[in-house]
Structures are given as C-alpha cells and as structure tokens.
C-alpha cells in the first residue's frame, strides 16, 4: 500500500519536527505502513544528515537540525556514521588501489588519469608545458624589450626628421629672401638700363659736341659697365654721379685709367646737389683726353678740415 508521493521539503520538515501535529500523525502512520514512503523517508533522512555533515544546511533548517534532530542518541550516531561514510567514500575515490569494478565504474577521464603509464605521460607533458611556458615568457620579455628599443629609435628618427625639416624650411626661407633680393636687383638694373637708354637718347640729342653719362655706384657690382660712345666731334663729356648717402660737405672727382690707375683728370672741390639721401655730383672733362678703354671715376669726400676719403668709384667704358 502506498499513498501520494510527499515533497522532499515536507519530509525534511517532518524529520525536523516542524510540521503540525495532525500532519505528523499522518506521516507517522505512513512511515510504518507505506513501503514506498518509508524508503523515501529513509533517503530524505540520509540526505539531510549528509547535508549537515557536508555543511550544506543553512538557516532554520540547520537550527532545527541542531535543536531537534540531534537530540537523539540514535540520530547522533547516524551523523557519526555519515561522517565516516563520507570520509570512506572520498578516500575510496582518491585511493589508487581500486577494484576492477570500481575502475569500470569511474568515468573514462578518471580511468585515463589513474593509469600509471598515463600518469607518467601526463607528468612529462606537464613538464614540457612548464618548460615551454618559461621559454615563451622569456621570449615575450625579449620581444617587449626589442619593441621598446625600436620605439626609442623610431622616436629619435622622427626627432631628427623634424630637425631636418626645420632646417630645410629655414633654408627655403633664406633662398626666398635671396630670390627676392635678386629680383629687386634685376628690377633696379632694368630701371637703370631704361634710364641709360634715355641718357643715350639725351646724349644723341645734344649732338656730338657734348657727351653725357649717368652713373650709379650699383652698376659696378652688377657687372654691366656703362658705355660712353664718342664721335670725332665730341669735345666735352658731362657725367652725373649719384652718391651713396654721406655727410661730407664737398667732394672731389678723379678720372683714372681703369687698368693703370693713371690720373687722367681731377676736379676741384665741388658741392653735391639734392638732399642728404639723394646726393649727386655733375662733372665735366674734355673728351679728347679719353681713349677707347675703361675708366674709373673716383669720388672723394672732403671734410671741412680738408681731409678726404673715397666714398665711391664709378666705371665706364669709352667706345669710339
């Protein structure tokens, strides 16, 4: 005879004396008359005791286990038995001396680990893995160090590159400035050439008697030497000299043969025309003293005390 199956929680409550009297009485009867229930109750009691031994009980269940269940010597003996069984079960599982049936009972993985040959094999494999792990750690360390060094080198290279770029940019700026200065010089030269052409035009218009020449100090550095064309009828040459800024009150001009520095002609003290920044001198000398060659007009600044010093030299070539 068997009644309805009882929930395990109810069985635990019954074993712990936590059910109402009427319910306890009903289960008391079934514990004696119902074979299935009796088996369930025994199983539940074993699990409850094992739970206590395994430290799995908590809260009220644990409290009632201590206060109610343990109050019986018979039940305390059950707990002691469970402790011994637990230890025996664990030692049986960990003992190498297992019976063939026990070996068959255990899983394939357990069997794999319990064979001595496999144990040695796994030990060797573990050793190999350990050595491999150590080597990998060492290699990893070296690689990290190399990466750090490479990064440092890369940083230095980038720094050097930046410095070079800065230098190149500075050079470019300098070149641009030089280009700008050259452009300015070319522009000045072109302007002077135009003025010379005008002067030539003026010279021609004056006829062959007087030849006029406009000279600036810059012309000598550019390399293009002014040319004075003389004809047989030319008797006098008039030269207009633009001066570098200076403070001398008067000047003296000397005409020299360019190659021999022979003094061909010299002026007295003359006054400059124009403002302090744009002074100019105008001199005149006989054309007959000139030959087809190069000449230098040397301008001396004469101070109030009579001393003098060169303030400019002007070059021109005579063509006949």
């Amino acid at each position: 005879m068997s009644g309805p199956e009882i929930d395990k929680h109810i069985l635990n409550q019954y074993l712990l004396g936590a059910l109402p009297d009427s319910e306890i009485e009903r289960l008391d009867e079934r514990s004696i008359t119902d074979d299935v229930f009796a088996a369930q109750l025994t199983d539940a009691e074993n699990d409850l005791v094992d739970g206590y031994v395994g430290d799995e009980l908590r809260g009220e269940t644990l409290d009632r286990f201590k206060s109610h269940y343990l109050s019986s010597q018979t039940r305390r003996n059950k707990v002691k038995f469970a402790m011994a069984l637990r230890e025996a079960a664990h030692s049986k599982r960990t003992s190498p001396a297992t019976t063939p049936n026990e070996t068959a009972q255990t899983g394939w993985l357990t069997k794999l680990f319990t064979k001595p040959v496999m144990q040695w094999g796994f030990a060797v494999a573990a050793l190999v893995l350990l050595v491999g792990a150590v080597l990998l750690v060492g290699q990893n360390f070296r690689l990290r160090r190399q990466i750090s060094q490479t990064q440092a080198s890369s940083d230095a290279a980038r720094q050097h590159e930046l410095e070079l770029k800065t230098q190149i940019e500075s050079q470019h700026a300098a070149n641009a400035k030089t280009e700008q200065e050259l452009a300015q010089l070319r522009a000045d030269r072109d302007r002077l050439d135009q003025e010379l052409q005008k002067d030539k035009g003026s010279q021609t218009s004056l006829g062959a008697a007087v030849a006029t020449l406009f000279l600036t100090p810059q012309l000598r550095s550019v390399g293009q030497v002014a040319t004075l064309s003389l004809v047989t009828a030319t008797r006098s040459v008039v030269v207009h000299l633009k001066l570098e800024p200076n403070d001398f009150p008067s000047y003296r001009v000397i005409l020299l043969v360019q190659t021999t520095h022979q003094n061909v002609w010299s002026s007295g003290n003359i006054k400059a025309k124009g403002t302090a920044d744009q002074k100019s001198l105008s001199v005149s000398f006989p054309a007959g003293s000139l030959k087809a060659q190069g000449y230098t007009l040397q301008v001396l600044g004469v101070s109030d005390n009579g001393s003098s010093e060169t303030v400019g030299e002007y070059y021109f070539r005579v063509m006949k």
Binding site: M1, L15, G17, D28, E29, S31, I32, T33, A38, A39, T42, D43, N46, D50, G54, E56, K66, S67, H68, L70, S71, S72, Q73, T74, R75, R76, N77, K78, V79, K80, F81, A82, M83, A84, L85, R86, E87, A88, A89, H90, K92, R93, T99, P100, N101, E102, A104, Q105, G107
Partner: protein
C-alpha cells in the same frame, strides 16, 4: 524515571514469536526480514518522538501484537503494518502519560548542548575505531554494492545529483531503483558498523 507497562507480565514465547513472523510475512517466508523491517520502522518512529528508550518501546509494541495474535490467533481488522502502528501509537501515548514532558524537554535541550560538544570532543581513538569499522564493513560488501555506496553519497548538491545519474546509467537502472538499493546498502552498512562498535 522507570517506565512500566501493564501488559508486560506476558512473556514472548518461541511459538508466539514464530506466529508473529508468519503474520508479518503475510503468508510468504521472508526469513524474518519483515520483522526486522518493522522493528526498524518502529524504532525510527519512537526515535522521532524523542522517546528516551525507543528500543524498549519497540519491544513493548511487538510483544503486545504477538500477545494479541496468540490470544486471538489472527488479526483481521487491519493489515499487519497498520496494526503495528496503532499499537505503537498507544504505547507512545502511555509513555507520554508516564513521562514528565517538561522534564523531558529540558533534558533534550541539555542533550543538544552535549551533542555539540561531543562532535568536537569525540576522542581521536573513537573516531579511528569508527573509520576502521566502516572500512571493515565496506570490505564485507560485494564490489558492486561497495561502488554504489561510495558513489551514491559522493559530492554535494548538483555534483551529487550528477554523480547519481551517471552511476544509475552505468549500472543500467533508474534513479529510483538506485535510491532504493543505496538505502538498503546504507542500512546494512550502518547496522554492521554499529555491531562492530558494540553499540548494539
């Protein structure tokens, strides 16, 4: 406190005991197994009632049943198990009438404290004896039963459930069948260790 039972003057004879065994077997010959099962159930019943001498109460219960059988030759009102329960319930109620419940309760509380102390204070030699008896009794089991008892109670919570499922599968039986077998083996093992330790 001594407990007396009015019908204790009657003494169980060999013939009365044989009649009791046959009656408990319900016609089949269990070789006394039914008697032992009933005795264990009654013992657990009185023990759950926190009776101080449950073995005595079991004896009193079974004696009364045997006497009734001897007097009336048969009991047809109830099944053997139910009649045993009814008789046990009467014995328990008589026990309660003769026992100071308050005194019993105080005594039980003291036992709780004593037990807590016993768990930690149990002598190492006593523990060793218990484990030796356990090993000895385990060796008396056949290998399959030994595997079942050590495998069935191994692990905790989910692991224990998984172990049991794997064990049942490896044995080719259901979980319920395994549970019944494990309980029987455990009872047998428990009895063996008790006898080994001289508890009973």
């Amino acid at each position: 406190m001594a407990i007396t039972y009015p019908k204790k003057e009657w003494t169980l004879s060999a013939s009365a005991f044989q009649r009791l065994l046959r009656w408990l077997d319900c016609g089949a010959d269990s070789g006394g197994e039914s008697y032992l099962v009933m005795r264990d159930r009654l013992l657990a019943y009185f023990d759950r009632k926190n009776c101080r001498a449950p073995d005595d109460l079991v004896d009193e219960t079974l004696n009364r049943v045997a006497r009734r059988l001897e007097e009336e030759n048969e009991i047809q009102s109830d099944t053997p198990a139910r009649y045993c329960y009814i008789t046990a319930r009467f014995v328990f109620m008589e026990y309660l009438r003769q026992t100071d419940r308050t005194e019993n309760a105080i005594e039980q509380m003291q036992l709780v404290h004593d037990y807590e102390k016993q768990l930690t204070d149990e002598a190492a030699a006593e523990k060793e004896d218990r484990y030796e008896c356990m090993e000895k009794c385990l060796q008396q089991l056949d290998s399959e039963n030994r595997q079942i008892i050590t495998g069935y109670y191994l692990g905790q919570a989910r692991t224990k459930i998984d172990n049991r499922r794997a064990l049942a599968q490896s044995l080719g039986i259901t979980i319920n069948a395994l549970t019944i077998r494990a309980c029987r083996i455990r009872s047998k093992l428990e009895k063996c260790t008790r006898e080994c330790l001289g508890d009973q």
